[in-house]
Symmetry: C2
Subunit: 341 residues, 2 copies
DNA sequence: CTGAAAGCGCTAACAC
DNA sequence: GTGTTAGCGCTTTCAG
C-alpha cells in the first residue's frame, strides 16, 4: 500500500510537506496542497495509523470489555459508549469476555499491547489475585463499569444496584405479596449481590426475613434461571412473586411459569432488573427497573477521557481517590406483576 | 511504559537478544533467558504491539462491521466470529454502523488506517457509488457477510434468504392461510429483498398473487414494524397471518396485535425470520426460520483468513472469481402460527 | 550464542 | 513555505 513517500514523490514535494498539508498542522501554499491531495488520490494513499501511533506515542482508541455481548443490556451499553466515544474522536474496540475472568485478563492484555488510550471493563472475576491483576494492569487508564469490584482502587460507573433491588421488591410488597422469591446471578458479582441486598432490605423494612428456600442462584443466563425456577414452582407453598436479578433471567422464569402451566401474572408475578429492548412486545409486558444506559455510557467515557487527558489523578498516585458515579434506576411497572387478592 | 531497551539494560544484554528470547525465535542460553524474563517482570514490560506491527508490516487483528449491534442476531454472529477468530490467533475489532452507510464507510476507513489484516462487513448501503467505495476499499481483504451486495466482486457468506422466505411462507400456507401479510426491511438490502422474493415464490406455487396492500416495509426495527402493522390490523379484510422479515420486526407485529386487542395465534398468526435467543420464553413462542449462526461465523472467518494468507485470489486479480458460501435455514415451528379452521 | 545496526511510516523540531 | 533529519519500539539480517 502506498505510503507518504509515494505521495511526496508524486507531488514533487518532501514528505514533511505532505504531512503538514494532510494534517493541517502548519502553513502550506494552496497550490502545493492541491497537488498533494491529487497525489493522494492518484497513488491511493491511506495513512498508516500504526506508524502514526508509534510516532505520537498514543492512539485514539479505547478498549471496551463486556462480560456478555449477547445480553441486550450490554448491547445497548456498547452502543451508548460507542456513540459517546465517537463524539470525542475516539473509536472503540469491543471485546467480549463471556463471563470468563481468564479470558478477560487476556483481552485486557491484548488491549494494553495495542496501546489503547484507555480501557472500560465490566469485570467478571473475583478474588484477591483477580483484583490484583486488574489493579496492576497499568499502562492505559482503566475504569470499571456496571460491576463494582470491592477493594479495587479504580474509578467506577454504574447503577445503584441496592436501590434497584429495593425498589422492585418494595413495589411487589406494595402489591400485597409476602412470599417473594429471588433469582440471583453469580455470587460475588456486585450487580447480583447488591440487588440481593436491596431485596433483603425491602423485606426487612416490611418486617420480613428472606426465606433461604426462595433465594436462588443462577449465572445471569436465561436457561439457568429456567432450570432453578422449576423446583421453585413445584413447591406446595410456592412463592407468589419472583424477582430476577437481570432481564434475561426474568425471561427464563417467565418461561418456566408458562411451561409448568401457570399464568403470569394471575398465578405468579415476575419482575426483572434491567429493561429489555423488546419488553413491550412480550406478553405479559415485563415489569422492571431500568438503568439510564445512555447516561451511564456517556459518564463512563467522560470519566475515562479525564484520565486519558491527565485531568484525573492516576490510581497509583492517589489510590484513595477512586471515584464512583452511581446512577439511580427507574421503576417501570407493566403487566407482569399483579396485586395479590 | 517500559520498553525493550529497559529490559535489555536491566538484564545486561542487547535488545536483539531480548527480542529473540521473548519471541522464541532463535537460540538463547537458558541462563540469559531467565535473566531476561526476570527483567521483564522487574521493569513491568509489555511489548509494544504498535511498534511490532509497524516492523512486521501486519497485524493479527480483524475488523468486523455490523449494521446493528443491538439486534440479537448480530450479537450472536459477533460472538461466533470472535470465537472463530480467536481460535486462529486473531482478535476482532467490533464496530457498529447503525444501518448508516456513511458511518460504515468511515469505519471501514478507520479499520484500514489501523491496518487490520482483514475486514468482515454486513453492508448497509446501496447504489453504485456505495458499491464502488466498498470495492475500492483496498489494502485489507474484505468480505461481506449476511447481506449480499449485487454486483460487488467480493466473497460473501450468508443465508439463502429466498429459501428462508419461501420456507416460512409455505409453512403458513400449509396451515391453510391465504391472506398472508409481509413486513419487510429496507428495500435494496438483500436480506429483506430476497426474503420477500421467497415469500412471493411460495405464494405463486400456491397459485396466489402477493397483495400489495399486505406487503409492508419497515426498516428492520421493532418500532417501525409496530407502526406499519397497526393499519394492517385495522383493515376489515385483515390478513390471517403475518411474515416478518426479521426477528425484532416479528416482535413489533406481535406487540401491535396485542395492543389492538387481538390474540396470537388465535386471531392472527405471526412468523419471523432469524431466531431470537429468548424466543422460547415469549408467549406465544415464536415460529421462525433460523440461521446456522455458528457455522456462518466460522465460514466467514475461514474465508477471510484464506485471503489474508494469500491462498485465495484478490478480487482485483480475478474479479469473476468472487465466491459465495450460502447456508440453508431451518424451520422452527412453535406456537405463534395456528392452522386456519 | 550474542550484539550492532538498518529500517518499518510517520511527525515535529529546526534550518533554510 | 518547504525540506532535512532524528527517532518512536521493534524485528531481523549479518558479523562476530
Amino acid at each position: 500500500m502506498a505510503n507518504i513517500r509515494d505521495v511526496a514523490k508524486h507531488a514533487g514535494v518532501s514528505i514533511a510537506t505532505v504531512s503538514t498539508a494532510l494534517n493541517g498542522t502548519g502553513p502550506v501554499s494552496e497550490k502545493t496542497a492541491r497537488r498533494i491531495w491529487d497525489a493522494v488520490e492518484a497513488v491511493g494513499y491511506a495513512p498508516n495509523g500504526i506508524a502514526r501511533s508509534l510516532r505520537l506515542g498514543k492512539t485514539k482508541l479505547i478498549g471496551l470489555v463486556v462480560s456478555e455481548i449477547t445480553n441486550p443490556f450490554f448491547g445497548a451499553l456498547t452502543l451508548a459508549i460507542e456513540k459517546a466515544a465517537h463524539a470525542q474522536g475516539y473509536a472503540v474496540i469491543v471485546c467480549n469476555s463471556n463471563e470468563d475472568d481468564a479470558r478477560e485478563l487476556e483481552l485486557l492484555d491484548l488491549l494494553r499491547v495495542q496501546r489503547v488510550a484507555g480501557i472500560l471493563v465490566a469485570p467478571s472475576g473475583q478474588g484477591d489475585k483477580y483484583r490484583d491483576s486488574l489493579a496492576r494492569n497499568a499502562g492505559a487508564p482503566l475504569i470499571t463499569i456496571d460491576r463494582h469490584v470491592e477493594g479495587l482502587k479504580r474509578d467506577f460507573v454504574g447503577l445503584d444496584n441496592r436501590a434497584a433491588g429495593r425498589m422492585i421488591t418494595e413495589y411487589i410488597l406494595r402489591l400485597g405479596h409476602r412470599r417473594i422469591a429471588f433469582i440471583g446471578g453469580r455470587t460475588g458479582v456486585s450487580t447480583s449481590d447488591h440487588r440481593y441486598e436491596g431485596y433483603c432490605q425491602a423485606l426487612a423494612s416490611a418486617g420480613l426475613q428472606p426465606d433461604p428456600a426462595l433465594c436462588l442462584r443462577a449465572d445471569f443466563r436465561s436457561e439457568t434461571a429456567y432450570t432453578v425456577a422449576q423446583p421453585l414452582l413445584a413447591m406446595t407453598d410456592r412463592p407468589t412473586a419472583i424477582v430476577a436479578a437481570n432481564n434475561v433471567m426474568a425471561l427464563g422464569a417467565l418461561q418456566a411459569i408458562g411451561d409448568l402451566g401457570f399464568r403470569c401474572p394471575q398465578d405468579i408475578s415476575v419482575a426483572g432488573i434491567d429493561d429489555f429492548p423488546w419488553s413491550t412486545a412480550l406478553r405479559p409486558r415485563l415489569t422492571t427497573v431500568a438503568q439510564p444506559i445512555e447516561e451511564i455510557g456517556r459518564a463512563a467515557v467522560e470519566m475515562l477521557l479525564e484520565h486519558i487527558s491527565g485531568e484525573a489523578a492516576a490510581p497509583e498516585a492517589a489510590p484513595e481517590a477512586a471515584r464512583s458515579r452511581i446512577f439511580l434506576p427507574t421503576l417501570i411497572a407493566r403487566d407482569s406483576c399483579a396485586a395479590l387478592t
